[in-house]
Symmetry: C2
Subunit: 332 residues, 2 copies
Amino acid sequence: MSAEPHPGVDEFEAIARLLRPLAGSPEALGLMDDAAVIPSRPGFDLVVSKDAMVAGVHFLEADPPDLVARKLIRTNLSDLAAKAADPYGYFLAAAWPQGSGWLERERFAAGLRKDQDQFGVTLLGGDTVSTPGPLTLSLTILGWTPSGAMIRRSGARPGETVLVSGTIGDGWLGLKAARGEIESVDPAAAEWLAGRYRLPEPRLELRDALRARAGAAADVSDGLIADAAHIAEASGVKLRLKLDLLPVSEPAFKWLQGQPARAVALAALATGGDDYEIVLTAATGHVALLIAEAEAAGVALTVIGDVVDGEGVSASFEGAELDIARAGWRHG
Amino acid sequence: MSAEPHPGVDEFEAIARLLRPLAGSPEALGLMDDAAVIPSRPGFDLVVSKDAMVAGVHFLEADPPDLVARKLIRTNLSDLAAKAADPYGYFLAAAWPQGSGWLERERFAAGLRKDQDQFGVTLLGGDTVSTPGPLTLSLTILGWTPSGAMIRRSGARPGETVLVSGTIGDGWLGLKAARGEIESVDPAAAEWLAGRYRLPEPRLELRDALRARAGAAADVSDGLIADAAHIAEASGVKLRLKLDLLPVSEPAFKWLQGQPARAVALAALATGGDDYEIVLTAATGHVALLIAEAEAAGVALTVIGDVVDGEGVSASFEGAELDIARAGWRHG
């Protein structure tokens, strides 16, 4: 763990007081070394993912620091969930705006602590620096799977069924709600949606079901259609999605009812991003059991399409194919 | 590998064209998955370190992007060098300023390629996002050591000798030179110093000697005295440094000659940071062989002090102890 002091907050002291208590495992060496050391674990693969977040881009400048910390951990845990990996630990790089104070860091550390405890991960190391720009965070998360058991994006095969967990579009609607840009939804529903944006739920409960029965999986961060396209590209297949089947929450359904064109509105939900659900494929013979196992674990899975020969993703509504390229499925 | 598009550059395309060619190992899954997967390596420990860099703070806004990329890799490799670990691979998070162009990214990727090839590391994954702030980079580096062989900061024992590699103070003088703030040094010397700041040399050649004979080691990033203090704190000992013995380069020596107070000037070099040398301790009986082995590997090691009971770091010049706390050894 290294640090760099700047006027206002002594980063060495901030690490000692705020971060060291989060680094309980022996591998972290109490954050007092240049590096962490992770012993080999024969029979297991280490699964590693890294996500970055910038204030004003990936979260709102006014978002409470504890929620920002928890969103950062959770978006990374979502990557592990999609790979059916068991969470283990993380490295944190934080560039704090010059002049940001002790209280923000304290709340940020409290958020880390809360989700560490909830999800069973521990801080292993990192770096704290200052920046003339916005708060910029990068987290590298580590997890374990039994050797060879990681679910990849590249495992989808023609004939398989496409499923998605939870509900889709809440993250995008939640961002609009948090910005006060949403109409036709009552305040309680808007608050619920904003909560989905601010504090996603990594679908770690799906691990056993995914390991047993999934072909391919990815987490829905860029948007359902974009992440389905990642599976299609990595697997060399085509995914056909029926937006009629898209699982939506009750607040999203209310929003849908106020929209003039249902197909366009569904496409917006399916391209919005920030859902942190899991899109996956499975052999059709496994689907019923997969859904039952997921339900027993507390997560709804919904069939939304199938895998065929070809490339890319198609999305249809009431039997008609939508022009999703024109719908801008890569929007940020 | 995930990405987020913004006006100007398509990050998906940038990753596909610029970064995928850097991710040659099977563990990276061609950057086409949510995560990398690293098989267990029985008999070895994985050594992991993470450093962040911000434009205008850790490098100059005008520094060429390829040199920035190489400095980023090298500062992280320096952590591995201090731990006597063999470089393996890295994860990269890059937050590019909105509006930065393709050419910058291309040069940045070219810098990564150059140092990947030189040091035998490979890109394993990461994240690319946009920021309204300055270019912000975070790299997580992975290396291997035989099980239990990592050199720690906590291994220093009373009676040991303190040594440092290369020369000290060039990084700090180099920053001044790059900013045109240095006097009493000719242009060629100033350019050499600026090069030391822009492109440090990770002392990976020391690995075998460190593994065989070092008690504790740390890389000199925060400044020799601060990093010696890290060893003292982690080991529960005191390090006594003699600034008379500080190894300095010829350009730094010329600068020293122009300074009114030698002790103050030496303290400035010893607290300046950005040297990316290695400060280490070794049993006194090992010192002669350690120096010989390092020299055979092409790296000079210099005795600069000893380890005693106590805590913290002391620095003396011509037998008189300096007040390094007042000298501000934690300056940024």
